[in-house]
Amino acid sequence: MEYSLLIIITPLLLFLLLGLSGMKMKPGMAGIIGTAGMGFSTLISYIVAYNYFFGIGQTDGAWATIIPFNVEWLHFTDNLHIDLGILLDPISVMMLLVITTVSLMVHIYSLGYMHGEKGFQRYYAFLSLFSFSMLGLVVATNIFQMYIFWELVGVSSYLLIGFYYTKPSAVSASKKAFIVTRFADLGFLVGILLLSFYTGTFDFAQLTSDGAGLVVASTAGISFMGLSAASWAMALIFMGGAGKSAMFPLHIWLPDAMEGPTPVSALIHAATMVVAGVYLVARLFPVYVFATPDVLTLIAYIGTFTALFAAVIAITQTDIKRVLAFSTISQIAYMMVSLGVSEYGGHDGLGYMASMFHLFTHAFFKALLFLGAGSVIHAVHSNEMDAMGSLRKYMPVTHITFLIACLAIAGIPPFSGFFSKDEILAACLHHDKLIFFTLLAVAGITAFYMFRLYFNIFWGAEKSYDGHHQPHESPLRMTVPLMILAVFSIFTGFIPFPEFITVDHIPFAAHIEWATVAIPSILVAAAGILIAMVFYMKGSELPSRISRALGGLYTATLRKFYMDEIWMFMTKNVVFNRICTPIAWFDRHVVDGAMNGLAWITQKMSVSIKGLQSGQVQLYVWIYVVGSLVIAALVLFL
């Protein structure tokens, strides 16, 4: 399976080609090359997936873990070496499929969406860079390789968010995204160092097979602030994941990241990069579940809170991309919760499977939502809901595909979201009732805000689209990806996921629990949709009356519960003013002062003795004579 290397190398070569040729290449040419390369990569990954699941298949009833390619990149000592390689196991193969598919769709879609934009070639180069880094991340054989690609992903995300670098809001959004995720990555790095220090390895295979025991054994008795060293390590690693996956309270960058081009949001900030944190936790799941179940509980609760928190905010947002961003945060939190409530082995590992399942289905329908939103934005040239209405008449394809995606995310059978969300809820039900009911409520809220979005865009009162031409359906280059993704959104739910992806690689059978999980969740979702329909389909007065009645709560939600302000206060008032300012003062006055003082003393001394170097020969001679006389006198009389 060495050819799996091609999946990763192709985008890298594309990036180099497109990036180096830059503006010399015609935009159309760059787009076609980028898309064709991505198509090739997608093809290879499908072949790899096929060969993995149906060619190699299972050994002893479990899916194998294959490392088709591995090089020792940095050799420090026999124990400490950093490898680069490819690790194929069910989740990485699944991720390859997701990333290449969505990436290809976005490539095709961008041909239409970004048509005529300045820097089209640069855009495709960055897309290739992102694809390369993301693919490298998921096939990482060791945690350090993952960290390297993790940072590369962060960089490409930064570049793409800041694609419209002439727009100040885009620039600050890209900086915000980069700084927040970097801050989280600091925790990740410390976690990696702690973990590998105690286990003596970076390798995933080693960590997940016997690493858990290793961690427990090697860190026994070492604790800090009441938590064991292992817990600290794993919690810090989770911090990295939480930053990338926008878990509360590190979620603040994701809504702002919507300043980037919409296809980028679809690819990076909905389908692939933001689930990297989930993937990280899933990758290290055996360590979490055996060594540090307490951290897993923490993950579950953070996830639950984030899911609810983001869903509530999503209700009030008016920028359609921001609604989708908060919905993404909420859905990723679902995956996190699902991992958090999972246990190991067989049906106990339902949560793990459900998490991966949801990751898989979510990638498609969320990408579809974003691309559909992009299509709408393309038509009306605005992100605001107020500017839209009754677009179903103008944009039938977008309308239908968007509806499919909304049904999928709301969890209406037979669309894919229903199946995966159902598994998550089932896993929660068996673990913790509180989490279950919270997530059930979130499912209802999700259905409500998604259909609020849907009705506001495609139904409601028709707006006067003055100032420019009538909205029209997007070109084929944009609608074809929508249709493909719609097909995925409908049918991926029928994939028997427990057959392929389980925590211990051994397939098990999962059933939909109609009575306790499925029926309630469908009812809740239907209720949400109905409320949204009443509120927004015809455009009623009800929503504004309710929002007035809620008053401060509504405002708080609209302002995203002031999280940005809290962070701003924390960084500006606490970190900058209380900590950095004294340090800066110390640096400026004490450290620099010492240096300046030295310079000042030197200068004064030079000034005072520079008279000796007057260039006056006679002075020199006089000093010479006096000096030799003094020396002679000393020799004589001492």
Binding site: Q618, W622, V625, V626, L629, A632, A633, L636
Partner: protein, 170 residues
Amino acid sequence: MVNFIIFCCLAVMIVVMSILAVTAKKILRAATYLLFVLIGTAGLYLLLNYHFLAAVQVSVYAGGIVVLFIFAIFLTSNKGEMVETHNIRRIIYGVLTSVAGIALAGFVLLKHRFLYSGNATVEGDTEINMKMIGTALMGTEKYQYLLPFEVLSVLLLACIIGGILIARKK
């Protein structure tokens, strides 16, 4: 005794003329006083029975260097520049330094006992003849000076060329 009187006359002349040479307001006079000092020195060499040295002293110093000085003085003289403006601080420093030096050197000199036995050779007719000087100057044996002589000739050549180069008009 006659020698001693001559020596005293020469000594007084040398010291007085030296002082005048370094204090004279006019540079041309200073050069003239220098000439007297040099001639006095030649006299001392004669007293020491170094006749050849005395001859060299007179011809090189008095005949060469002093003439050179006088030419240089004429070449560099401006109207009004001849008068040396004295700086009192400079003079005080110079006098103090010189007095200190004289005191120190004189102390060493008077405290020290030289190991020369008698003075017969000094008073006697021990003139070194020209043949000895010539042999020593041109020989390559021990205590003979052909190499320094040749080096000196190269030095003089370099000095001639250097003098021409430096003083040449651009």
